[in-house]
């Protein structure tokens, strides 16, 4: 346990971490290194194993196999009260029968610190709750309770602070405010923050690095920009924002590009991918595509284009959203930023959806076990 000496920060490493509940595999051989001092997010929908992973780091669950390491120290089987790790719980878990002061000072007192008044005062100031010390949790609003929970954990100067969807119960405006506050606190304090959430916008706002989890495994790891611009699978592409996904077959190599034919349309995908004859999927973000009239002269840069009919035009304030149906029945989405110009097309218009090849990203073929949508080649007879 930290004794208040020089702050030591070690990388948090999960090695082959696995957790099963009976037949159910919650966490499936997780390998992850979370750099010391970073703000790290575990992103995924409910049931993907992120909370279980967090609990194993906190010591509230024992791994079925694998290890949790701080630097070189194996803490996998240490009791929670022996780990330099603190948690901010989703439901805050404030002790209802203790005052705010006593709640915040709880960890310090258990470690034998006698005079907690100053530390508590500083901490309450950090979360902007000075003067609330004598009150009870039941008298505080959700946002205030959340800040007490953060204070209660941070005061112990843990090496790793775990946050289990702490902002879930707050309304939108408060949530945004808290996101920025937490980020600035992490800057100041310097501990490693591991934030578990299902809200992709939250993860992208706050974290330096994000791990997208799916069925107990890490699907992709990277910075918010990496994950958004270069998702490796349909799952990641659709979890972070929206994406058009096109499935085709490789027909040719064109210099540095691969040519993929999708229902008769030839489209260029930068880089070398599958060999000719093999299936290849790729994606394009709606905001990267534009809607052009069929008759317009194609722009040299917008080399990829798919013809279709406009099915819907929606004005959302920030953008105009088009839904274009292709000849093979797929609906593509295009978001045109609201720069003051009129709508480029109207319902029923024949248009071309075009994009620059470098904006497309290849998607790997989904394996049966991890697929969120079945890959076309593996479609089995529907019941």
């Amino acid at each position: 346990m930290p004794d208040g000496g020089p702050r030591r920060l070690r990388d948090l490493r999960l090695a082959g971490l696995r957790k099963t509940f009976g037949d159910f595999v919650a966490v499936d051989d997780l390998d992850l290194t979370i750099p010391a001092g970073s703000f790290f997010a575990l992103l995924g929908p409910s049931g993907c194993g992120k909370t279980t992973t967090l609990r194993m780091v906190a010591g509230l669950e024992l791994p079925t196999s694998g290890q949790v390491l701080l630097g070189d120290e194996d803490i996998s089987t240490l009791r929670p009260y022996k780990r330099p790790v603190n948690t901010v719980f989703q439901s805050y878990a404030l002790f209802p029968h203790l005052t705010i002061e006593d709640n915040v000072a709880f960890g310090l007192r258990r470690r034998g610190v006698k005079d907690t008044k100053r530390a508590v005062g500083e901490m309450l100031e950090l979360v902007e709750l000075s003067g609330f010390g004598r009150r009870k949790p039941g008298q505080l609003s959700g946002g205030q309770q959340q800040r007490v929970a953060v204070a209660r954990a941070l005061i112990n100067e843990p090496e790793v602070l775990l946050l289990d969807e702490p902002l879930g119960a707050l309304d939108l405006k408060l949530r945004r405010q808290m996101q920025l506050e937490l980020k600035s606190i992490q800057d100041r304090v310097g501990s490693t923050f591991v934030h578990v959430t299902h809200d992709q916008e939250e993860a992208m706002t706050m974290a330096d690095t994000i791990a997208v989890m799916h069925s107990g495994r890490v699907e992709q790891l990277g910075t918010p920009r990496d994950l958004y611009e270069r998702p490796v699978s349909r799952y990641v592409a659709n979890f972070l924002g929206q994406s058009n996904c096109l499935d085709g077959t490789v027909v040719d190599r064109d210099g540095a590009d691969t040519v993929v034919e999708v229902h008769g349309v030839r489209l260029a995908l930068p880089g070398r991918h599958a060999s000719p004859g093999r299936p290849q999927s790729f994606g394009v973000r709606p905001e990267k595509a534009v809607v052009l009239a069929s008759s317009a002269t194609p722009d040299a840069a917008l080399r990829n284009g798919v013809p279709g009919t406009v099915m819907d035009v929606s004005f959302t304030g920030l953008s105009t959203q088009y839904v274009v149906r292709t000849s093979w029945g797929q609906e593509l989405a295009v978001f045109a930023q609201n720069d003051g110009a009129d709508a480029a097309a109207h319902r029923g218009d024949e248009v071309v959806v075009a994009w620059r090849p470098e904006h497309a990203f290849p998607l790997r073929e989904e394996s049966p076990a991890g697929a969120s949508e079945p890959a076309p080649a593996l479609a089995t007879a529907a019941p």
Partner: protein, 269 residues
């Protein structure tokens, strides 16, 4: 207009009925309190003859009554302490752990509540008779512990069921080991339930007649005294005790509510 009045009447009809029922529940209590001030003409305190404070001034002037009250208190305290301990342990065991025999254990705990007092009292008597144990103070205590344990378990279980296990996890996350977590978090939060269970046990024990009747031998508890007095003539002093019990209990319930509000700082129940 008519619909509105009908609807209003209907809305308040149920509530009015409810209040009537409450009055009905309180009717005997009013009578008891009123007749504690009665100056009975004969031995039987059944018709009003005159107002007096004599019974209140010196309730123990009636031979044997205050002794019986004291005895009931003694039995109540001992039985409550033991039953609360046993019951709380059982409740923790049943709620916090899932083990194979849990349903069966729950059933066994529940059975005494489903058994008519006559049967329980009678069966205990046969036990004592067959074992050659003379009935008296301690057999009463044993009997009282028996039938109050179940109620303690149910009360504490109800309190524990609403318990947020995250609180104990949070405590351990904040460097409290198992014992400290229990002492500083679990116990204080379970305490109201335990206290309620103890209160219930005491009330049941103090007021018990039927089971006590079977197992008391020559020991006279307060209810036994009243039973005997019913034949001979119930003095108003008995009403004084009854009223006193009522007021004391009200005080305790009110006090418990005040304490609860102070602890959690909550404004509604």
């Amino acid at each position: 207009m008519i619909v509105r009045t009908v609807r209003a009447a209907r809305k308040h009809l149920v509530l009015a009925f409810g209040v009537l029922v409450l009055l009905y529940l309180f009717l005997p209590v009013f009578v008891v309190v009123a007749f504690s001030f009665n100056d009975p003409a004969g031995r039987f305190n059944f018709s009003w003859s005159g107002f007096t404070l004599d019974s209140w001034r010196d309730p123990c002037s009636v031979p044997g009554m205050c002794d019986s009250v004291l005895l009931s208190l003694q039995i109540g305290v001992i039985a409550t302490l033991v039953a609360t301990l046993l019951g709380t342990l059982l409740a923790f065991g049943l709620v916090r752990h899932s083990f194979r025999g849990r349903a069966g254990t729950s059933l066994l705990v529940f059975l005494p509540m489903a058994t008519p007092e006559v049967v329980m009292g009678a069966s205990l008597l046969t036990l004592f008779v067959n074992a050659g144990v003379a009935t008296g103070f301690w057999t009463i205590v044993i009997a009282h512990i028996l039938f109050t344990v179940s109620f303690v378990v149910v009360t504490v279980k109800a309190r524990l069921a609403g318990f947020d296990s995250r609180l104990e996890e949070a405590a351990m996350d904040l460097y409290a080991d198992e014992w400290q977590t229990f002492r500083r978090i679990t116990l204080p939060l379970a305490a109201p339930g335990i206290f309620a269970g103890a209160l219930l046990a005491f009330a049941l024990s103090f007021d018990d007649f039927i089971i006590t009747n079977f197992n008391s031998g020559n020991t006279i508890t307060f209810p036994m005294y009243v039973w005997g007095a019913a034949q001979r003539g119930v003095p108003p002093e008995v009403n004084v005790i009854g009223t006193g019990m009522f007021l004391l209990a009200l005080l305790l319930v009110g006090g418990a509510e005040v304490v609860r509000k102070a602890r959690t700082g909550a404004s509604t129940g």
